[in-house]
């Protein structure tokens, strides 16, 4: 384990790098595989110098569902936002809300913030100093409690499983 | 297309020269940056304008200028971009230092402080 920590600090990163490389070079052969593996081994060692901590995954099981939900949400809310943009502006009631966080892992918070931002209609504006609240700007706020609950259910809960 | 590029160069030079003639170091640097855009476009256009024929050779395509645009001006522009970038960096730092040391960002701060904005 210690050996792995030392020479392979983050398996996800290594894998990501290998995939990245192979995607980029657009060819799949022994030489490129060797190169990808080499980079996958070397770069994380180097990146540890920048990274404070690598993300440790808990369970990856909720991930596929989360991605699908997210994709769907992006699609749907895009349509909604498009409608709002095209409609008269007076009907839009935008507002800030403080979203109370339950997730404590910083990577989880980041992922949640990403999800919120990527989903149209909401954008994370800030994280409170104690990391317990996210400031979210909502383009068209109907029901604050419902929105908070929605986010919690759709994103935060799966994320808490992924980033324990 | 030629007219568009030429007029674009002209507008960049116009804005750049006007800014270069200003009295404050930062404005001059802005002007020089705009001028470098114009310069890059001009050198680039010395190879004439060709759409969709990048000078990257591909198999099955003969390596002639019929299939590829003139690569030389591109190489020149690359060098020019790098060099003007280096110069801009030095100029910015120099402007900072000059401002810090002479307590004015007037381009002629060092010798004359007669309060007039422009002496050129």
């Amino acid at each position: 384990m210690r050996w792995r920590r030392r020479f392979l600090p983050s398996l996800p990163l290594t894998l990501a790098i290998i995939v990245f490389w192979l995607l980029m070079v657009s060819e799949l052969n022994a030489a490129q595989l060797a190169m990808a593996a080499l980079l996958g081994l070397v770069i994380p060692l180097y990146a540890t110098r920048i990274d404070r901590e690598f993300a440790r995954f808990g369970s990856l099981r909720p991930l596929p569902k989360l991605l699908v939900v997210l994709l769907w949400d992006i699609l749907m809310s895009n349509v909604r936002v498009a409608r709002q943009v095209l409609s008269r502006e007076e009907r839009i009631h935008s507002s800030f809300i403080w979203y109370p966080l339950e997730i404590g892992n910083i990577h989880g918070i980041t992922a949640l913030a990403c999800c919120i931002t990527l989903t149209p209609g909401t954008v994370t504006a800030a994280l409170s100093d104690d990391r317990r609240y996210l400031l979210v700007h909502v383009l068209d706020l109907a029901d604050e409690a419902a929105l908070v609950a929605d986010i919690k259910r759709r994103y935060e809960c799966p994320l808490m499983e992924i980033f324990p | 297309m030629e007219m568009a590029i030429a007029s674009g160069i002209g507008v960049l030079v116009f804005a750049g020269v006007y800014l270069v003639l200003r009295a404050r170091s930062f404005d001059v640097i802005l002007g020089l940056t705009l001028l470098s855009y114009a310069t890059n476009l001009l050198i680039f256009s010395s190879g004439r304008l060709v759409v969709g024929k990048p000078p990257v050779l591909q198999e099955g395509m003969e390596a002639t200028l019929a299939n590829h645009t003139d690569p030389v001006p591109q190489a020149l522009v690359l060098t020019a971009i790098v060099i003007s970038f280096a110069m801009t960096a030095v100029a910015i730092v120099l402007a900072m230092r000059s401002r810090a040391d002479n307590d004015s960002d007037h381009v002629d701060a060092g010798d004359v402080r007669d309060g007039r904005e422009d002496r050129g």
Binding site: - | L32, S36, T39, I43, S45, G47, P73, T88
Partner: protein
């Protein structure tokens, strides 16, 4: 094959790169200076060999990357190039010696910047490709910014801003001209351009003229020809002594480029472009000479005065080269070499004075230098002033006499009054400066509390030797001018026969490739 032509570029580059590795506090000055000197001397040796080789006659062509000159970059070394490189190396040696009296420790990266500046200068003189010339111009310039600003503060920074901004603007213009050159001629090799100039179709003639006109404007700006000289005095006077002395060669790069372009692209064989632009340069040179001379009179500080002396010599060179006869060019080249050494020496002397007079600096007012400095600095100033003013028996006189002799009958009526009158006024200015600085009594009473205070200036051996070396080079040129004048004469003839030059360059073939 002989790699001699490229050595004056590569040696300083290597020196500069290595300097970066030895410039640590733990390593110490001795090692840094040793590295600097090893490469300096190697460059000097290469320059001497190169000059000897170039003097044999044929143009030395070095095809970089073994590509034919028309598609790659070629170094083309004729007598003129080699002469300039040798001059640069000799000057740089003295400047380095001067800097080793202490400035090199106060200016971060001095040795690296110095070597790279040398690389830029040599590259500019040796290259035969006009875009490569631009690149080396930039190497030279940015190294000069570094040398000017490293370790500096205060007014030097604002002077530096002026210098940098002006040069960046001029470089932008250079690039525009280069774009035009490629667009019009389809090549960047100067010899290739020269072969295409004559055949330019009538419809493209104004365009070609504008292109070369812009090039000349750039070179004249670097050479500080009127009215593009306004940047020079401040920059040169604010630079540290060793750097200011080295800068003297920088205006010469512009002049060299004018000569080169003039010889190849505006020479006898240039068809409709023959002689284009020169008609304007002569009046500009005369007007510039007048203004520079007035500047010598107006100078309120010794270094400003020397900066204007540099301008006087630059404009004198433009007159010499503008007349475009073998005699004037030969005389001009002699004058160029001489004025480089002497003006550099004067900058070093001015610095000595500045240090030796404490708070009074080099301001031209009655305040004596420290006694320790006075005699040596005064004697050196006398030699330098006599030299630069064109008084016998030193090099300035020989240069000026040869120039007067060579000026064609038709041009005597304006060129002679200009040259002689300017000499006259320069003498007046130098005399005033010299008497004010060196001929003031040491005050018996202690200075006023708020007035400038004299200091116990002491001579540092390296800087004294450096100054003396420069002056000695000038004196040597006057005692035995024969070899130098023979060389410059041959160089001038080579310049006036561009077709030979072109043929020799075009005959150079790659070794390991098909041509």
């Amino acid at each position: 094959m002989s790699h001699l032509p490229i050595l004056p570029i590569l040696i300083p580059l290597l020196g500069g790169a290595l300097s970066l590795f030895v410039e640590h506090r733990r390593i110490g000055t001795v090692v840094q200076r040793s590295v600097a000197w090893v490469f300096m001397l190697a460059t000097l040796a290469a320059s001497i060999l190169l000059a000897l080789r170039a003097h044999e006659g044929p143009v030395l062509v070095y095809l970089l990357g073994d590509w034919p000159a028309r598609i790659g970059i070629a170094l083309m070394v004729d007598r003129l190039s080699a002469l300039m490189v040798l001059t640069t190396s000799l000057l740089a040696g003295a400047c380095l010696l001067h800097a080793c009296s202490g400035w090199d420790r106060r200016a971060p990266h001095f040795h690296a910047l110095f070597q790279l500046q040398l690389m830029g200068l040599n590259g500019a003189f040796l290259t035969g490709d006009i875009f490569n010339l631009f690149v080396f111009f930039e190497v030279m310039l940015i190294a000069s910014y570094g040398l000017l600003l490293s370790g500096g503060r205060g007014v030097r920074m604002s002077a530096g801003l002026h210098y940098v901004a002006f040069n960046v603007a001029a470089s932008t213009l250079f690039l525009i001209a280069l774009g035009m050159v490629y667009g019009v001629f389809g090549t960047l090799n100067m010899v290739e351009i020269a072969t295409r100039v004559a055949g330019i179709p009538a419809g493209s003639l104004p365009l070609a003229k504008a292109t070369i006109g812009l090039l000349l404007v750039v070179f004249c700006a670097k050479a500080a020809l009127m009215p593009l000289y306004l940047w020079l005095p401040e920059a040169y006077t604010r630079a540290p002594a060793a750097v200011a002395a080295l800068f003297v060669i920088m205006t010469k790069v512009g002049i060299y480029s004018v000569l080169r372009v003039g010889s190849l692209m505006l020479g006898e064989d240039a068809g409709p472009l023959a002689g284009y632009g020169w008609d304007w340069m002569l009046p500009a040179a005369v007007a510039g000479l007048a203004l520079a001379t007035l500047g010598v009179l107006a100078a309120s500080r010794l270094r400003v005065l020397v900066a204007y002396v540099v301008l006087v010599s630059a404009t004198t060179l433009f007159i010499a080269f503008g007349l475009r006869s073998a005699g004037t060019i030969a005389a001009g080249l002699y004058y160029l070499v001489h004025s480089t050494f002497v003006a550099a020496a004067l900058f070093l002397i001015a610095d000595l004075v500045r240090r030796g007079r404490g708070d009074a600096g080099d301001v031209l007012r009655a305040f004596p230098p420290a006694p320790g400095v006075r005699v040596v600095a005064g004697a050196m100033f006398l030699v330098g002033a006599v030299s630069v003013a064109g008084l016998p028996p030193l090099s300035g006189f020989i240069g000026k006499t040869m120039l007067l002799q060579a000026i064609p009958e038709a041009d005597i009526r304006w060129a002679w009054p200009a040259l002689l009158g300017s000499s006259m006024l320069v003498i007046v200015g130098l005399t005033r400066a010299g008497t004010r600085i060196f001929w003031k009594p040491v005050p018996v009473l202690p200075a006023l509390p708020d007035g400038p205070r004299p200091v116990r200036g002491q001579l540092r051996l390296p800087e004294t030797i450096a100054t003396m070396v420069l002056l000695a080079l000038g004196v040597a040129m006057s005692v035995a001018p024969g070899p130098v004048t023979a060389y410059t004469r041959a160089a001038a003839e080579q310049l006036l026969a561009p077709s030979t030059y072109i043929d020799q360059v075009r005959a150079a073939m790659p070794q390991g490739r098909r041509p």
